[in-house]
């Protein structure tokens, strides 16, 4: 993985020193809260309901064991012994004190981490496929490009005060595991007729109160031109994005109001001015960055799983292999997803002890590499198939062996009203009840892959718009109500779910989900037809009727 060079180290250390001074001046009263708020937000420090919240960047979701151990140490020393992994592949600490934050940032800097640009109207942490550099279906490892985008966007002088926050996601595989079409810019690797790799560029996606699926602005941008093309899009957005209305300031609104053709024309015009200049990405620079992401020293192996035999001899382990491993590009290896969704647990949370266990496993079994997925799980990207059982047993011992990845209990869930100052309703207890309701392995196997996503307000941090079943918490006259949507999809066939009807109270949500699941199980043409397939074939009417009768 990427290692800081001297510039990076000095830049991050300088930022820690700067923020340390700002905190001291705030506490002494030299800075007012109005003066200090933008400064702390630039360093990922929010004020939530109960305390400050520090959001730490995990660049494109990639970490090593030293870094995860440091996060465990921070959780143990400065917080309450746990951290919350987010849909932006970051981690949040919910209880830090303001006077501890400079020391926390200093400790993070010692392992090449920081919290810069995890807030504010700037380009946020670039996210990518959690199996980048490992997946069998990958055209190209997107991490070198993600790293180059990170360097380009960090404290970019022109783009530090955009009309609104800006999120970029990138995938090197045709199967989109990074929800790229729900980002301001989504990049998907493509090969042209000569086999040359470049990027399809999508623009104007997003969730929130105005969900939009991104539109393709260019089918193919070569590597060498990518930064220039991104710069062109950002320049057009920076110039024409609406600063008069916070709710209309994202680039998706610009795309919607101006039209894709107009935006493309403006971007192409800018691109003509910018391309071939300082933003041109020479092959030797790309090669230099690529070297940081060279594949580890895999051993030759023809090991493979005999799933049929495992199902007989050890059905629990077979279930783990079936759901929690992903096909690796290297024969004899696999990627293991560590579910942070224990039945009845808090989705995305990991204790300091669990982080230590995962760090040990990464060091012993995954070439010291770790990933965070946007679905709030952790990943050991390179595990020899012969080692999977040892990893599974260690995970089970730490309460991390849940074999539910991609299933109904593997939910994306925002912190909701239990923590978030913006939320209208709680998300976590609703998720816990659904998880308990569908917790049995047999029940989950029967249902198959089904993605539920829960948000505690219209800002949609829980990606409810993209859930096969989405749940949105709202507040009406002091009561938490939950709207149910169906038909969302975060993948390459991205879609926004439709609301089925009026909101229901929290206690009714598990029953409602049960009813939707029952309709699906009865209506599906066979076990191979997933929820979205059935929904597409039979329409929403039977699902709506199941919840609301003939209202």
């Amino acid at each position: 993985m990427y290692r800081y060079d001297q510039f990076d180290a000095e830049f991050v250390a300088g930022r820690v020193a700067q923020f340390t001074d700002q905190v001291e001046r705030r506490i002494s009263g030299e800075l007012s809260e109005d003066q200090f708020r933008p400064l702390r937000l630039m360093n990922g420090l929010y004020l939530q309901l109960h305390a400050y919240m520090l959001r730490v960047a995990v660049p494109y979701g990639t970490m090593n064991s030293t870094q995860l151990r440091k996060l465990a140490h921070i959780a143990r020393t400065y917080d309450r012994g746990y951290g919350h992994f987010t849909t932006r592949q970051n981690i949040q600490f919910n209880w830090p004190r303001l006077d501890d934050v400079p020391q926390i940032l200093s400790e993070l800097a010692s392992v090449e981490m920081h919290a810069i640009q995890t807030s504010g109207n700037c380009i946020r942490n670039v996210t990518t496929d959690q199996f980048a550099g490992a997946a069998a279906d990958e055209i190209i490892d997107p991490r070198p490009v993600a790293e180059i985008i990170r360097q380009w966007s960090s404290l970019h002088p022109e783009f530090s005060f955009l009309p609104r926050k800006f999120k970029i996601a990138i995938t090197g595989a045709p199967n989109d595991r990074a929800a790229i079409k729900f980002h301001d810019i989504g990049l998907m690797a493509q090969q042209d007729e000569q086999g040359k790799v470049g990027w399809a560029v999508y623009v104007g996606g997003g969730m929130g109160r105005t969900p939009m699926v991104a539109k393709e602005i260019s089918p193919f941008v070569p590597h060498s031109d990518l930064l220039a093309y991104l710069e062109s899009i950002l320049r057009v957005y920076n110039r024409y994005g609406r600063r008069d209305n916070k709710y209309k300031a994202r680039i998706k609104i610009l795309v919607h109001e101006e039209g894709l053709a107009t935006l493309r024309e403006q971007v192409e015009s800018e691109f003509l001015q910018v391309r071939g200049g300082v933003l041109n990405l020479p092959d030797d620079e790309l090669s230099r960055i690529k070297a940081y992401f060279a594949p580890p020293a895999f051993k030759d192996s023809d090991a493979r799983f005999d799933l049929a035999a495992l199902k007989v001899s050890d059905p629990e382990f077979a279930r783990f292999v079936l759901h929690n491993t992903n096909q690796h590009a290297q024969a004899g290896y696999t990627s293991i997803t560590i579910s942070l969704k224990p039945v009845g647990g808090v989705p995305g949370d990991a204790t300091d002890a669990q982080m230590e266990v995962v760090a040990d496993l990464a060091q012993r079994f995954s070439f010291d590499e770790l990933r965070v997925s946007h679905e709030q799980n952790l990943v050991l990207p390179h595990v020899a198939i012969d080692d999977v059982r040892a990893v599974y047993e260690a995970l089970n011992g730490a309460g991390l062996g849940e074999a539910n990845v991609g299933q109904i209990t593997d939910m994306i869930v925002c912190p909701g009203l239990d923590y978030c100052a913006l939320a209208n309703a709680r998300s976590i207890p609703v998720a816990q009840e659904i998880s308990r309701r569908f917790g049995s392995a047999r029940r989950q196997e029967e249902i198959g892959d089904l993605k539920i996503k829960i948000s505690g307000c219209i800002n949609a941090c829980g990606h409810h718009h993209a859930g096969h079943i989405g749940i949105l918490g709202v507040e009406k006259r002091g009561t938490e109500l939950y709207q149910i949507t169906v038909g969302g999809n975060a993948g390459e066939n991205a879609a926004i779910g439709n609301i089925l009807g009026r909101g229901i109270v929290a206690e009714e949500v598990p029953d409602a989900i049960e009813q939707l699941v029952e309709i699906y199980l009865k209506a599906r043409s066979g076990a191979e037809e997933n929820f979205l397939g059935t929904l597409k074939r039979v329409g929403e009417a039977p699902f709506r009727e199941a919840l609301y009768g003939n209202d």
């Binding site: 309901l49 109960h50 400050y52 004190r97 808090v346 239990d418 976590i428």
Partner: protein, 106 residues
């Protein structure tokens, strides 16, 4: 009826303006302002904002039942009692700041 609430600058903890005229974490001891006491309430808010030790100063509507002060909004009840799932205690305020807070008392 309203109370005045804020977060401590350093700990971030939720605190309330108390009947004793200082700030603390126990909502049941919060000073409840009647509508005819709006001017007094606003003075508390103004002084709290000027104190330098409190941020996010807000007023919240409440009701009083059996000696307890109950916030009308669920958000504020969660803020007073901590996250519900799993249950966590609220952040502990800095006790030593009680003295400094006294200068915002009425």
């Amino acid at each position: 009826m309203e109370i005045v609430t804020a977060n401590e600058l350093i700990s971030g903890a939720t605190v309330y303006f108390l009947t004793e005229g200082c700030w603390g974490a126990d909502i049941d001891r919060a000073r409840v302002f009647q509508s005819e006491e709006n001017a007094e309430r606003d003075r508390v808010i103004k002084r709290a904002n000027a104190s330098g030790f409190l941020i996010s100063v807000e007023r919240e509507t409440v009701r009083v039942a059996k000696g307890r002060v109950l916030a009308n909004r669920l958000r504020e009840r969660i803020r007073a009692e901590g996250p519900t799932a799993p249950r966590h205690r609220p952040q502990k305020p800095d006790i030593h700041n009680a003295v400094e807070f006294s200068h915002v008392s009425l």
